[in-house]
């Protein structure tokens, strides 16, 4: 089993399409997204209304891509949008896939 990085992004659903496009452009081979709600420094996002929904996006990729994604998202969205990013270590069975 080989090591990869798992990048988890929680952000506003209305920019999901932008974030996903960025992720793919930066070299990720896939992503998984689920609807979420939550609370952070930008207030409560209960998901009960269009502009109030969060999305939780996960990307399994190599370390280099993980950093590229985080850097780009930070630069592009952190200031203006509700967003958090965190990394963890995962192991995968088909390293060529990620």
């Amino acid at each position: 089993m080989e090591k990869r990085k798992l990048v988890t992004i929680v952000t506003e659903e209305n920019i999901e399409h932008l974030v996903v496009a960025d992720i793919k452009r930066l070299g990720a081979h896939g992503y998984t997204s689920v609807s979420a709600s939550g609370e952070g420094s930008r207030g409560t996002r209960r998901g009960d209304w269009d502009l109030n929904k969060n999305v939780r996006i996960e990307v399994v990729c190599d370390e280099r891509t993980a950093h590229a994604i985080a850097e780009h998202l930070m630069k592009s969205y952190y200031r203006d949008y509700a967003m958090i990013i965190y990394f963890s270590d995962v192991e995968v069975l088909r390293p060529e896939k990620f």
Binding site: N14, L18, D48, D50, K53, S76, Y81
Partner: protein, 319 residues
């Protein structure tokens, strides 16, 4: 005002508002919001399309031009007020301006329900005015943001995409076209769902919107007294413009009331979605709280009856 409080639609809105204020963790599942908002936009478009089918196109030209002129003017006025008097940042002022130039389709539906309840007639092409007023303001908001706030990150193509293919615009236009092609006869088989059910579904949706709006009230102190006042006075100012344009372009009292309400309403579906992407530096707390937390309830409860009287009076004087 009393008459609006006896409209079921407004009562449900108040019930939601009270629920939200009394206990902010009651919430309806998001699927209700999603389904009803899509249904309502389609149905509003469709009803408009069916009515348009019977309407001589020539009659729509003057009011359409008048409406577009409103859509172009109001955002600049709103921008100037928020920027100069309110001392808000350029992106904030541009984003708020876009909201007040644009319209709220639900407020539009409520004014039609109000007029129907009173038995006041209005022109059959008013839904066209709704569509015409939704688009330019958002574009102009983006333009102001670009020009005055230098938000150069978004490409023009993406901006156009957000405006013309945004969910709410698209659904309205689909409804309008389908309704127009079918006409009253062809639409018969789907009339029950898209026309008869409409007001009940609108009432249900407004319960939800009352809850959502009440959650916005928590942010009132964050937006400050200037925006609170703006959220009440700007709609009245715009409604006066709407009344004048309505009378000048030959609309009836009913049609004038509708145009005044459109002018006075602020978008809380299309504009926030577009502004969030196009003017990211603008603080969404400002524009969402003022349009959804203040102007929307104000229009539903106080504004619509007021604009109707205004239309009556001005028609008496100028008409």
């Amino acid at each position: 005002m009393v008459e609006s409080l006896l409209d079921p639609v407004v009562l449900f809105f108040l019930a939601g508002l009270v629920a939200g204020v009394a206990k902010s963790d009651l919430r309806l599942p998001e699927s209700i919001y999603d389904i009803l908002s899509i249904y309502l936009l389609l149905a509003i478009g469709m009803k408009g399309g069916i009515e348009l089918h019977e309407s001589p196109i020539a009659h729509v030209i003057a009011p359409a031009l008048g409406t577009i002129s409103l859509g172009v003017t109001i955002p600049f006025i709103a921008y100037a007020i928020v920027r100069r008097l309110g001392k808000f940042s350029r992106p904030d002022a541009a984003a708020i301006a876009a909201h007040y130039g644009s319209v709220s389709a639900v407020t539009f539906a409520v004014v039609l329900s109000f007029l129907t309840q009173l038995g006041v007639a209005y022109e059959q092409f008013v839904t066209v005015l709704l569509v015409l007023l939704e688009i330019p303001a958002i574009g102009i908001g983006m333009f102001i943001a670009r020009w005055r706030a230098g938000t150069g990150t978004l490409r023009v193509r993406t901006m156009m995409h957000e405006v013309f293919l945004g969910k709410s615009m698209y659904l309205l236009v689909v409804g309008l076209v389908v309704g127009y092609v079918l006409g009253p006869h062809g639409a018969q088989p789907v009339k029950l769902v898209f026309v008869d059910v409409f007001r009940g579904a609108l009432a249900f949706f407004l319960l939800e919107m009352g809850l959502v709006a009440s959650n916005r009230l928590a942010d009132l102190k964050r937006v400050g007294p200037f925006l609170v006042a703006f959220g009440v006075l700007m709609p009245i100012l715009s409604a006066v413009f709407g009344c004048l344009i309505g009378i000048i372009t030959g609309l009836s009292v009913g049609g004038t009331t509708v145009l005044a309400t459109l002018a006075g309403s602020a978008s809380y579906i299309a504009a926030p979605a577009a502004m969030r992407v196009a003017v990211p530096q603008a603080n969404p707390t400002y524009y969402i709280t003022v349009s959804l937390g203040i102007t929307f309830p104000f229009n539903l409860i106080v504004g619509i009856p007021l604009y109707y009287r205004l239309a009556l009076v001005l028609h008496g004087i100028l008409g």
